[in-house]
Symmetry: D2
Subunit: 294 residues, 4 copies
């Protein structure tokens, strides 16, 4: 039986084009190549949003084609793991423009949990959870711009409260002074042309260094003490966290083109407030290089 429903091809009665039409929150496991892979870290469980635009002349987008493209890409990853979620996003974008012949743009966003081994200050092995963020956008005929990113949880201790306490207690101690400290979520996103390849592991390594201290799933007593000492020896505002990230990016990626777009964000779940502290910079790598050299 051939169904002839062509409701989607009909002309919408209102005649407006649409910027993004698609599906959100599709769950899909995907096999990804990883240098540090272990049997415990096989497929990544992805949450995926997929959009194309829609011209004024067409009533509906064929949403099932988005899921078909995704299904095909995920299935192919079994025999040939994808080289990175951002490359998978780029691949999906290109296929979307083939399957949606009426679309001029495609836009894909992916989020997945990622486990990676880490080492505590005293060298014990732990396995830490991170979020990988990836995406890609394309305009028909132009080069795909893809985004690679990570979201990392660390710890910040406040430099201002530390200084204030020192004055209030009239401390002349050589020991690190008390302050408030808390969970901090730092996000790093880099957007660039499709032909540039970065490693998510490198971004995680970079972000691990921006906090007052990284955090760990398992800390026996000496490691717990050392994390606290480290954090209070490196007190940082959310502003400092972002700037440290920007500095590291300019240092590590100085060879990348100036048109790479960078976002660094730091959000602290303040222990002394019920609300959060927040800092963010969005800029091109070119702008950041310029500011770094001043």
């Amino acid at each position: 039986m051939t169904l002839k429903c062509d409701v989607q091809y009909g002309k919408g009665d209102t005649g407006f084009k649409l910027t993004k039409v698609g599906v959100t929150g599709v769950r899909k496991p995907v096999l990804v190549q990883r240098e540090r892979a272990t049997p415990l870290t096989g497929a990544l469980n992805c949450s995926i949003d997929i959009f194309v635009d829609l011209p004024a002349t067409q009533k509906g987008s064929h949403l099932s084609r988005n899921v078909e493209v995704l299904k095909e890409v995920a299935y192919e990853s079994i025999s040939k793991p994808v080289s990175g979620l951002e490359n998978m996003a780029s691949d999906i974008c290109k296929k979307l423009l083939v399957h949606h012949e009426y679309a001029q743009t495609a836009d894909v966003r992916i989020r997945a949990e990622y486990f990676r081994s880490s080492k505590t200050p005293f060298g014990k092995n732990t396995l830490e959870s991170y979020q990988l963020l990836a995406g890609a956008k394309v305009v028909r005929g132009a080069i795909v711009r893809k985004t690679i990113g990570v979201e990392v949880i660390g710890m910040t201790a406040c430099p201002c409260a530390q200084q204030t306490v020192k004055e209030m207690l009239n401390c002349s101690t050589e020991y690190p002074v008390i302050s408030h400290n808390q969970r901090n979520v730092c996000t790093l996103l880099m957007t660039m042309d499709d032909n540039i390849n970065l490693e998510a592991d490198d971004l995680i390594d970079l972000v691990q260094g921006v906090f007052s201290s990284p955090t760990y799933e398992l800390l026996k007593r000496d490691d717990e003490g050392q994390v606290v000492i480290n954090a209070h020896s490196n007190p940082r505002f959310v502003e400092d966290v972002v700037r440290k990230g920007l500095k590291f990016i300019v240092e590590k990626y100085s060879n990348l083109p100036d048109d790479v777009e960078v976002l660094v964000r730091s959000e602290s779940e303040e222990s002394i407030h019920k609300h959060n502290a927040f800092a963010e910079r969005t800029a091109t790598l070119g702008e950041l290089k310029g500011e770094a050299s001043e």
Copy 2:
């Protein structure tokens, strides 16, 4: 005792400026004028994000000033209720540039639950919950751009599944044919110069009309049946929901300037899938007027 901690005024060691520094998730009740206010709908419980930018020459932003400004504005609302959350956001923006003398930009976002009476198809009174969205941004020396918006839950029935079922069952019935239907969240945001005033109630009225049917807290049998009949007599894709919203906006706000920015978004929690369907248009009112007249 005068504390001299001036950590924030110190020069950051990295020298990057920051785009947004502030606080997120501050909870604050605010009294707002409402035409349809009842004793049950007094203050709005707001969740508020407040940001300013930060020059490269300064280490930290004075985050407590953000909360002080907010506290003052909320307190003043007791004697003189604010005329709208978007106007409160605008007011906060202006005050932020006074209190953060180093800042060039300010950015405020507000979300609050809002209850309003509604009527079922057979005229029973109900009280429905909506989300109000508001915001404002300003660059020092320029006019404030403010955003007024609403998020409304309604119901959509799928036109394509309805047509397919009709073919599959070879229906020649005059009655509305079965389809899948589900919760749909429709978001409308309008951004404009500070001196233009819109009513959130008008935006809610407008969005109530974009669904296959509005939804209600309380439906006795006849009303429940009528809602189902209405929804299946007006089957709509997420694309249709957005376009209907755009059409209503062009009709109702044709007298507003072309540079008003419009966002209409529709997200359906598909009953036949575990993921959502999504459509969105972002455009200036000028672009929309142009497309409407084609």
Copy 3:
């Protein structure tokens, strides 16, 4: 037109009785008497779950009656504010058994945000956000058991890390030693016969005292320093937080009957880990009195 659909009254084909049938997540503003009320703290925006049981002989529960009862109770609060959310829950329970003539039990749960003024260490006024929890359960013919509760955010500093750091640094300082500190959410629930009346404000006062320090929306420098000093002078595990709460309850409510049920829970968003620390005690007040006197 009289609709005769009596699907709900039909016998379910499977013949099992059901423990709880109802509605969840109903949003409703309710006017509540408050000693410390201000114009900014009018109606409470409640999220409400309402259940009754269902005998094996009946196919469906009449869910719209749950919302009707709720609507009536909320509407009556306009002319006569309810004396507490737990009393409203109890009232709804009693009405449910009238409206669901087939039900033997009723169960109501309510959650609402609540704003209340507080004072920083140096006496500045702030407005803090709390969660009120309330509930009631009844078996037909028996007395209603109602629950009054609060959820409060505070701050804990870890005593163990503090001690460890002291040893690692070989500190002989008189000043409080550094430790990790973080947001802690403390929940207190008390369940009792309908005729006993407690004040949610008293429970909040009690819980404010269990943390290493309360937290505040607005802290200028001296207050921020003092909160940090206070927290590190009162380091507390999640276990200590719960036990402090139990102690306060036994002291304050020694005159209440032994069959009052108590739950105290403390969950810390650990700054040194990506996961939380958790402690909880559930007991009758009689058991707690016994343990306190040992």
Copy 4:
């Protein structure tokens, strides 16, 4: 350097015992045996809560031991995949009582996303996402009671609205009549002695049959139509969903002991309301067998 901090071993100053002390939200990948495993479905990413009780005589629980036990069990799963999350929970419980020599009870809860292949009405392969729920509790000296469970998303169409519409339209059609339909989340939990072994896949198969229709990630036109037809040919209240689940359990697990505890829950994200409909039964298998035979 040997740190001698024994803060946890100190006597708490308040002398209350605690019911549950531990960690919540620990993220950990674990390798699990699966009959239908594919390369895309390797390790399960678990969120784990681990608790023991604490006597009045001890100040603190050694929380790091919880994570150590978990780490060991997860690591061992690399060489020998665990036979089920509920068996892993049971194993952790037993180890907890060894490592917390002062504890009398242990309690473990696990949640993980699980992907499994499914087939649409017309036989197309899809991959669907489910939630596995598992747990175990033990009192020192007694047998471990473990819980195996699943959370499945499906679709329900309302029988009452369908009947009402039929009356309102005076339909004499042979075709299925319109109704409201929506996402339904059905949860099934079974708790039993440690030595009984069930398969999570069997529970998923069972729950797939309780809805008006299962749902699928990918539905081309004919399958979409068939799902809609199936759903409206099997209209079900949340009450029906739960009872169907109870019936299937009694049929499939009649050989299990009467003291197996059963929970079946169904929550519908009503398309005609902004709130949910809910039904639940908790009972022993013995009680259910009795009701089924009446």
